[in-house]
Symmetry: C2
């Protein structure tokens, strides 16, 4: 047998944040694609549309009128998946039929008064404003709830039903599956090695370089060694911090800057407004604010679905749903492509 | 607070097969949908297309010519994600950077010589023939490999790139994430309760009735109590069996019959060829053929993406990817809709 070459030979890699493996089969990029082709993302979005419930001055589903906001704007989701007052289900009569109450709140935060703008096209100071509001929300909702999930679904391909730039926040009285897993994995690593897993991981990636996409004095973006989505990235701080509200003013500034750089590269990859779901994971809140959470390190995940072009996505289907996630190019190949892209947005580039 | 009503009040339910929870927020079905609408599934597919590499007599990517087959047809995937001879990667230099070799084989099995037919429109005897081949493949590949994943991606929405009816089989030298989880959960339940989890679960569902979709003398289909996809189902045997090749001839016959009934209901739900990914989970094979696997119960999962109509799907995105899966109608509501649908296919119904 020939020598192992990761761009040619199938292998599995371990994800220590989820205690799962991913199958990497790089040469699958070569197969012809005759399957579903996505609609190209909508080009024209009016800057202001009075019938769009996310716009300044618009009327929402519940009859409330939005203020004429000029930066960010926060409101309660009109169709919340979680509500503060859900009654307790009775006690389960069988261990295979277990239910618990789900209490919480769902909020929507618009990033900007314009509908035809996205984070990479906003100014760094405007992005910083978004980060400040996220941190504030975390403190507010985290006082009550053990988990506050801040996330953005961007693009119709990611189930986003409104092009106006916005994120969501769902806070719950339970620790959801994914953070529960991340908590366990980070806790075990810290117990065994005495150092926070993702602090050590960032240190290693800075040395190894091959998966780094962008970095600055406080932050680092890599295609993680165990990435499942083709151009998935992980945004990590260089110093140990538990939650978004731990960031200094300078760290918020440098975070805004690195987000703009990453998202500009994403848009430049296929010269479209790049779809993704992203979200923040930090130490749990609520009653866990008082506990030692040193094993946690704040981080953000970006999960973009596209694989080959603006219209060909990766399908996480049969084998992925039933057996294990599989990717068609190596994380190093993805990082190199992103790293080599310009940091000037294709839409604002002088010809 | 009012009494708990599962069709009105958010709650979480426990999935004992995956040790995870799902958020159930039934009233979210009421929210208006202005997001992405799927292309209606292609209506016209020619029965025979000599340029389709899955058709009898066609030439495949590697130059091989398919036989003029008249029932099922098995061949090696021309772009395999797993190969038998992948070399060993070296030993990892750090616990956060772990790689292992992935060895295996990927096969494709056509169900029928015609491209314009699907399982629900095939005869029971033809479906039985597919089941016989699956069982044969499991024995062949299971002699070497610890996991043999049999699955079907149906429809362009599920990343299927060829309308010709077919399934895939990916066998690997490792136990993938999902079966590893199912193995652990079933093992723990069996150790604690002394009965296979899914045997007890089927017994309970037969009594409770509200989640049953179809049943016959040997089999049962339910929308599981912990379903995440809107119309997800779980196909279970009534008696304890470990693997597909344990089925008697009568059980294969009755399996073919219940598959036809389930898939006909699926197609009748929105009067389209219903997309899904499905696959079989049974006790691991390879060196585990010799071990006591009594905790396992054979079962099949069906994961269909559609939510409201033939063109509106459920998006498992931001919250679902980062926190926890969430559904917009209760499993009981989904089961009731499926149960009440006719068992005659809308395409063959006399007007
Ligand atoms: O092998 P196919 O049908 O070309 O590909 C399809 O199924 C595979 C296995 O679930 C997935 O990895 C691919 O993303 C999907 O497009
Ligand atoms: O709340 P939205 O944006 O209407 O809905 C979107 O995000 C939710 C949270 O990830 C998902 O549950 C929905 O399936 C998706 O369409």
């Amino acid at each position: 047998t020939p020598d192992f070459d990761q761009t040619e030979h199938q292998h599995i890699r371990y994800n220590p944040l989820r205690d799962m493996w991913v199958l990497v089969s790089a040469h699958r990029m070569k197969r012809p694609w005759k399957g579903q082709v996505e609609k190209p993302s909508e080009e024209y979005v009016p800057r202001h549309d009075p019938s769009n419930p996310l716009c300044p001055g618009a009327t929402r589903a519940n009859g409330m009128v939005n203020p004429e906001y000029d930066s960010t704007f926060l409101f309660d989701n009109d169709f919340p998946a979680l509500q503060p007052d859900a009654p307790e289900p009775g006690v389960s009569d069988h261990s295979l039929f277990q239910t618990k109450a789900a209490k919480g709140v769902c909020k929507v935060m618009c990033f900007h008064p314009w509908s035809d703008i996205t984070l990479p096209l906003m100014q760094v100071s405007e992005i910083k404003n978004v980060i400040d509001k996220w941190a504030e929300l975390l403190v507010d909702l985290g006082a009550t709830y053990p988990w506050v999930q801040i996330f953005e679904n961007k693009g119709a391909m990611m189930g986003c039903s409104n092009p106006h730039p916005h994120s969501q926040v769902w806070a719950s009285n339970f620790l959801p599956n994914e953070p529960r897993l991340a908590d366990r994995c980070q806790r075990e690593y810290y117990r065994d090695k005495g150092v926070p897993m993702l602090l050590e991981y960032a240190k290693q990636e800075i040395q190894r370089k091959e998966r780094v996409v962008v970095e600055n004095e406080d932050w680092l973006v890599v295609v993680p060694y165990w990435a499942t989505w083709p151009f998935q990235t992980l945004l990590l701080p260089r110093r140990h911090m538990l939650r978004l509200n731990d960031l200094s003013n300078e760290e918020r500034q440098s975070l805004a800057s690195i987000m703009k750089r990453l998202l500009t590269k994403y848009d430049n990859l296929f010269e479209i407004s790049f779809p993704y779901s992203m979200g923040w994971h930090g130490a749990p809140t609520g009653h866990q604010l008082a506990e030692d959470m040193s094993h946690w390190q704040l981080h953000a995940h970006y999960y973009p679905p596209l694989l080959r072009s603006s219209t060909i996505r990766k399908f996480m289907v049969g084998y992925e749903m039933l057996a294990q996630e599989q990717r068609d190019l190596t994380p190093e190949q993805a990082a190199e492509r992103l790293r080599n892209l310009p940091e000037e947005h294709y839409k604002t580039k002088a010809d």
